[in-house]
């Protein structure tokens, strides 16, 4: 009797141990790196960043109009995540093999990492096989390729050039001409400041509107390969000519040209300061045309807004007609879920997105505008003409940086212009971040 009972207990204990081992194994399996598997998607799922409303609004318009059939076969489903958390979410989703059909990328470095791991569709091959590769503007394609190691890894939902938007009325009233060189720009700012007008509006909270100035100064001074040299290890940000660029921008802050508390100014506030006439100039990309065209936001009137290229640096190797350009926040498609229905959606987007975004959102994309759209105002026409005629494009300060260096650069920019960090310290900190990954 005792023997039978012991055997039964042994059997129960063995069962318990086996169950525990199975649960443990299951838990272990759940925590793997996850490769993800190809499967037919049920929706045209799109993970967007909350801050970018343009693309999801235009896609929603297409889903009800030109792409209604594609939407019926594969319904558009938009989810959003705060831009600051986007990279983290993508890394976790990629690790679990759960990337959506289409998603917004954060840093180019992460995009390339995902592409290397085979999680991003080969868009050039896909678009060519769909017969819509020619629907992309060549300038946008070249910008993407410059940014993503020679590959088309994102779609050009936006195609922006950057420069300085200025208030024509303020310039006229103060007898200022459009500055052609950096020294003239600084002199104009000094004149405005002396008259109690804030020369520049910029968001120190975002940081990038300030670091863009450093990057552009470098491109104008050292030449269009200035930051490629840093990426290739042929130059360091701590080299004197690189520190000089940071010093020039720091000097603008030291003189108070960005106004009070620049570190507390967020993106919307900086835009608002310019569009309500509280600041004379705003360095921004052409995506700001949507805000300029909106009378609710633009209190100075679109007719009062001018656009000038980032000025030349006297004696510099760069040229004023080399435009800083970008394709906005990169949006790409997953490799595993790119099937026939996804292809139909992409074809429809390629043929119709350009006109829809320009007509409804007032924004310029890297897709061809197949249905003619009248420009909302003169400055939009000016920017569109500039885009078409631009001979050479350059990137921005952090474009070729690692995610860490990018974060370090943008989060320290406000300290640089508020005088809490010297130009040398700033460049050293970013260079250290570049070297540490």
């Amino acid at each position: 009797m005792n023997t039978v009972s012991s055997a039964a207990r042994r059997a129960r204990l063995t069962g318990l141990t086996a169950s525990a081992a199975a649960v443990a194994l299951l838990a272990t399996a759940c925590g793997g790196t996850g490769g993800g598997s190809a499967s037919a998607p049920k929706n045209f799922s799109y993970l967007s960043v909350t801050e970018n409303t343009t693309v999801r609004a235009a896609l929603t318009t297409l889903s009800k109009g030109a792409c209604a059939d594609q939407n019926k076969a594969l319904p558009l489903k938009v989810e959003t995540v705060a831009q600051a958390n986007n990279d983290q979410k993508l890394q976790l989703l990629a690790g679990q093999g759960a990337l959506p059909v289409q998603f917004t990328m954060g840093s180019p470095a992460l995009t390339q990492q995902l592409a290397k791991a085979g999680k991003v569709a080969d868009l050039e091959a896909k678009l060519k096989s769909l017969g819509v590769y020619d629907q992309l503007e060549p300038a946008a394609v070249s910008t993407i390729k410059a940014l993503y190691g020679g590959k088309l890894e994102v779609l050009p939902y936006e195609y922006n050039i950057e420069g300085v938007f200025y208030n024509k009325k303020i310039f006229q009233e103060n007898g200022l001409k459009v500055p052609g060189t950096w020294n003239e720009l600084v002199a104009s700012a000094a004149r405005l400041d002396a008259k109690g007008i804030q020369p520049f509006s910029a968001s120190g909270q975002q940081g990038w509107p300030l670091t863009r100035l450093i990057g552009n100064y470098l491109y104008r001074d050292i030449g269009p390969d200035a930051l490629q040299k840093v990426a290739d290890g042929k130059a360091k940000l701590t080299d004197p000519e690189y520190v000089k660029a940071a010093q020039e921008v720091a000097d603008l802050g030291k003189k108070g040209y960005f106004g009070k508390g620049v570190g507390s100014i967020d993106y919307d506030t900086s835009m608002n300061q310019f569009l309500t006439g509280k600041a004379a100039m705003l360095y921004m990309g052409s995506w700001a045309l949507a805000n300029i065209a909106d009378p609710e936001q633009d209190k100075i009137g679109a007719a009062n807004v001018g656009f000038m290229p980032f000025p030349a640096v006297s004696g510099g190797k760069g040229s004023i007609d080399q435009y800083p350009s970008n394709v906005g926040i990169g949006i790409t498609l997953g490799a595993g879920s790119f099937d026939g229905k996804t292809g139909d959606w992409v074809s429809c987007i390629a043929k119709n997105y350009g006109s829809t975004a320009l007509k409804d959102q007032g924004t310029i994309s890297g897709f061809k505008v197949n249905t003619p759209v009248q420009d909302a105002n003169k400055v939009t026409s000016q920017v569109r003409t500039t885009i078409t005629s631009a001979k050479q494009n350059v990137l921005w300060f952090e474009a070729l940086f690692t995610t860490k260096a990018q974060t370090v650069s943008t989060t320290n920019a406000a300290s640089l212009v508020s005088g809490n960090m010297s130009a040398t310290q700033f460049m050293q900190t970013v260079q250290d971040a570049l070297a540490s990954q």
Binding site: D87, Q91, A94, G263, S264, N272, T407, N420, S436, Q437
Partner: protein, 294 residues
């Protein structure tokens, strides 16, 4: 009962399920995390062995030194602030407001239940310099002083953080210490008063020693909470300007999830665990000695 508890198999069956669940949700992740400390990589590229490289990097990384220094500085300042403020409030409730303290207790406790993000935004507005001048800067202007960009430099931002976190949590410590103070027998206080002790002498020689156990508990609560601070800093400064207000927790989070360096992130987490353990042991030792003395 004795027969059942003396049977090893019975003990295994009774404790087994709880032990299994505890192991799966507590021990396995901890050991797993420790294992990541010896690796390099992330969920996209996969993980490869990295030996002790993460540990040597930990010692030479200036950002870790800054974050550790900030964490300790913050923990000391907030712990002292919230326990002292809480104790003073508790004394106020017990000895001055007495039965009328309920309303004040509720009002002072109110920030404890507010969401951290809301408190962070409130303090941002309170201390802002642009685009609008906040109440603090308005006050400075009113007395003829210039506005201060509180979030422009790490020094000022640190003190705003300290003020915010003390304000946010002192109500909790006041209630905790209040419970300890009301436990002191009235007869002891009465006899001390008859012996001529009053005011500060009464507090120094009678109230403080008798409330020492609950004071020590508050210290342990506070130190552990402040060493692991995360949400309030993210809400108020997000670790900036630069990394001026970045504690170890935030640096660990950024390293793992923003920079995709899970191995090094785990090593930073391990450092934080060791710091928490050491500080708790020190507080325990001090508390045991003091209790014996009292």
């Amino acid at each position: 009962m004795h027969r059942v508890l003396g049977d090893r198999r019975a003990i295994a069956i009774l404790l087994g399920p709880a032990l299994l669940v505890y192991s799966l949700i507590m021990l396995v992740p901890m050991v797993w995390s420790l294992g990541y400390s010896f690796t390099k990589g992330n969920t996209i590229d996969g993980f490869t062995g990295n030996g002790l490289a993460n540990f040597s990097r930990l010692f030479s990384d200036p950002a870790v030194h800054d974050a550790l220094w900030f964490t300790l500085k913050y923990a000391v300042a907030v712990t002292v602030g919230q326990v002292v403020a809480g104790y003073l409030l508790a004394l106020l409730y017990v000895f001055f407001l007495k039965r009328a303290s309920a309303l004040v207790r509720t009002l002072v406790f109110f920030p404890v239940v507010l969401p951290t993000v809301a408190v962070g935004l409130l303090f941002q507005r309170f201390f802002q310099v642009a685009p609008q001048t906040g109440p603090v800067n308005s006050l400075l202007n009113a007395v003829g002083l210039d506005s201060i960009d509180f979030f422009g430099g790490a020094g000022h931002a640190f003190w705003v953080l300290i003020i915010m976190d003390i304000w946010r949590s002192m109500g909790f410590y006041a209630v905790l210490l209040f419970a300890g103070l009301v436990d002191i027998p009235d007869e002891v206080l009465e006899s001390a008063r008859l012996d001529g002790a009053s005011g500060l002498r009464l507090i120094r020689h009678i109230v403080l020693p008798l409330s020492l156990p609950v004071l020590m508990s508050s210290l342990i609560f506070s130190v552990n909470g402040t060493l692991k601070v995360f949400d309030s800093i993210v809400a108020l400064t997000n670790g900036g300007p630069g990394n001026g207000t970045t504690p170890l927790t935030l640096y660990m989070f950024q390293t793992s999830f923003t920079y995709g360096d899970y191995g090094y992130g785990s090593t930073i987490a391990l450092l934080l665990t060791v710091v928490c353990l050491l500080v708790t042991l020190v507080v325990f030792r001090v508390s045991r000695r003091d209790l014996t003395e009292s």
